[in-house]
Symmetry: C2
């Protein structure tokens, strides 16, 4: 089961990764050893210029795969499963994306993540996106754990 499928319903509406968002990307991320991985095939209309993927979508993939990886890493650090309580969920504090070369449209993209730092409520995830085995994008997400107060408000 993917990281995102463990999110409680109230936190499963995200346009990028919420399993309940019918309009969204519904990305699915998994552990692959010490790295996390997600596969995603952009739609034909996720276009920048003809033949290439829209940069905003690539940023969105970096964003949601990053927060998903941050959550999974936080559970792992506590030695418990993602289905256990209390829920740990992360929001993006900052996002950085370097577009190394144009990303071709029409192929499956591989998004990979690696935890660079996990300290208190903050997790830094470095990421990269490959198309046809070539890395086209590198990024970094600084994720912070959603405050309990905000989670409580959402539950109401």
């Amino acid at each position: 089961m993917s990281f995102q499928e463990h999110y409680p319903d109230v936190l499963a509406h995200c346009y990028g990764c919420g399993v309940l968002n019918k309009h969204g990307h519904r990305i699915k991320s998994y552990w692959a050893g010490e790295e996390s991985v997600c596969y995603f095939t952009p739609e034909p209309y996720h276009i920048a210029v003809p033949g290439y993927v829209y940069g905003g979508l690539l940023a969105s993939l970096i964003d949601c795969h990053g927060t998903g990886t941050a959550a999974a890493a936080a559970y792992r650090a506590e030695g418990r499963s993602m289905t256990s309580l209390p829920s740990l969920r992360f929001l993006t504090a900052s996002l950085h994306v370097d577009y190394l070369k144009p990303t071709p449209l029409g192929v499956i993209l591989e998004i990979r993540g690696k935890v660079k730092e996990l300290k208190g409520r903050k997790v830094v995830v470095e990421e990269w996106i490959a198309a046809n085995g070539v890395i086209t994008v590198r990024g970094e997400v600084v994720a912070v754990q959603v405050p309990e107060k905000m989670l409580d408000d959402l539950e109401v």
Copy 2:
């Protein structure tokens, strides 16, 4: 007329800003003195957690408003209109977004940009997004002019 409405058809397919992309955001950016401005109302499904805007969309707005501002600034620096030839179009080399606080869903967002640096083929645009008059996001786009070779290939 907005910056984006001046793009030639071959460059008007972008999911974020292309006027020909029926599925996309079709943002429209304008000069407002020394700053550029764009107004955008997210859809109800552009959600992160209930009540707040999805960060990937905010990154997309920063991205496309930034490249649009870069193009407009480049024409302005050459003292010619955006309808004149040759076409100048910019791609994002890097994107940075700081999420200062959650951005409320259901209100018009104001995206503002300011040229920080314009040198050769590179333009750096600093940006911010306000909701209800409160700045919730700050970002920066490093835009580079699309190589003539790539434009020529697209025209074919």
